[in-house]
């Protein structure tokens, strides 16, 4: 794998740190007037998701990480693995529970997700920003409540629970922002 000097550091560069692939979020060059130069770097560890700050001596080299994002359609889960397919090549890839994590509740069949591969294996699965899911269960709306008092919880087919306005009922399909987990609207028919 290639090594990167601190001069090449910039947002988006993938490097190895403590045996884990990381994404550089921010890189700041620090040079005290008469002193040694440093690079102050904000890093996201791609497996644990942890964000941390690390300082390198300028000129130091760091091993690059073979990390790439790929767009794949979600197919199904067999209980252990989540299966995705490249819509152009029909090649399939299976991601484990750890890679999917919390996002499993936003996986909708045929939705195209971003799968991050490290050395060819999926390490994270990012669903589209918006997904449409059906409500399997929610309390019937209370009459006369139009003040938008924060709504009520609704359970979706995937098990996700989101707060919805009182007028939304069981059986309806709603649009949800997966980044915040918030209700956006009723789905367009």
């Amino acid at each position: 794998m290639a090594y990167y000097s601190t001069n090449e550091f910039k947002g988006g560069l993938k490097i190895m740190l403590d045996g884990e692939p990381c994404n550089i979020l921010e890189n700041e060059y620090v040079k005290p007037g008469k002193g040694q130069a440093f690079n102050r770097v904000k890093i996201r560890k791609l497996i644990s998701g942890k964000v941390l700050e690390k300082t390198f001596r300028s000129g130091e080299s760091v091993e690059g990480a073979d990390v790439m994002d790929t767009e794949l359609a979600y197919l199904y889960t067999d209980g252990e693995f989540y299966h995705f397919m490249n819509n152009d090549t029909f090649e399939q890839i299976a991601a484990d529970e750890k890679a999917v994590g919390e996002n499993k509740k936003w996986l909708v069949e045929n939705d195209v997700c971003t799968i991050t591969l490290w050395n060819g294996s999926p390490i994270t699965v990012t669903p589209p920003n918006f997904v449409e899911l059906e409500i399997t269960e929610t309390d019937p709306g209370l009459k006369g409540d139009t003040a938008g008092t924060g709504g009520k919880p609704a359970t979706l087919t995937t098990g996700a629970v989101v707060r919805v306005p009182l007028f939304v009922q069981t059986g309806e399909v709603i649009r949800v922002d997966t980044r915040s987990g918030e209700y956006v609207s009723r789905a367009q028919k």
């Binding site: 601190t6 001069n7 700041e28 060059y29 620090v30 040079k31 005290p32 007037g33 008469k34 002193g35 040694q36 130069a37 440093f38 690079n39 102050r40 941390l52 700050e53 690390k54 300082t55 390198f56 001596r57 300028s58 130091e60």
Partner: protein, 322 residues
Amino acid sequence: MQFWQPTTTHQARIARAALLRTIREFFYTRNVLEVDTPLLSKGTVTDEHLEAFDTCFNYDQSGKPTKLYLQTSPEYAMKRLLCADSGSIYQICKAFRHESEGRWHNPEFTMLEWYRVGFDHVALMDEVDALLQETLGTEPSDKMSYQQAFQTYLNIDPLCANDEELLEAMEQQGIDIHEPETLSFDSKLQLLFSYIIEPQIGSNTPCFIYDFPATQAALARLNSDDPRVAERFEVYFKGAELANGFNELNAANEQRKRFENDNEKRRASGLSSKPIDENFLNALEAGLPLCSGVALGVDRLLMLKTEAKHISDVINFPVSRA
């Protein structure tokens, strides 16, 4: 992206012209003479952490190709003028440092440097403050010694502390760096200063930090009452390290010793030693009048003036478009 285009707005270019005019008027009214010295020199800086660009001059009178260095500051040449009885002088010029670009850094930048004959560093700090008030419209500056700053923000005495105390402080402050114990004592101080102290000073009004440890004296004279500190100051404002000044060392032998020590440190770190500027040392032998001098980054001053986020907002063609 169109790489032929400047990274600045026309507003920024107007602001630069206005700032340069204000600076020149400031010195004109104070009777400080504008001078001009070469960017190329046979000698160069010996600092362990400062790299000069070099080039080859093929037409030297010696008949041999000669290495010439682009200046990292006009300090040596301006002091040669002072030794030739120039009186107080200033210069606005390009300076070059062979290092990375960054938010506050471009390898080629504009420097304002001036020397005041008969001033000590305290009087010069007042004049820098006056220039900042004139150019940026700031309130009178804060002043704090290097020792006070460490005691206030880190509860450490930088003049008595040992390596272990600094390592402990770095860990407490969450400064995560590979093999911190291999950093020099001064590098540890500088990291703590940049990461912990700098963000807490100079946010409303510029802050002068003075009396740096003698190990970071560079070309400043040591304090005669407390030789642990050098009569050097720096100015910080809104995250920028804006200026660095000295009560100038004028002892040629002491200056030579410092250059030689620097070169030894360079060799110890696996760097090549640099040719000492003999013209400068010979000038010191002839006699440098008591004076203080300061170098100020004009691009950074302009960034503060225009509230720019990045130095490329005030430099038409930063190195990536050079």
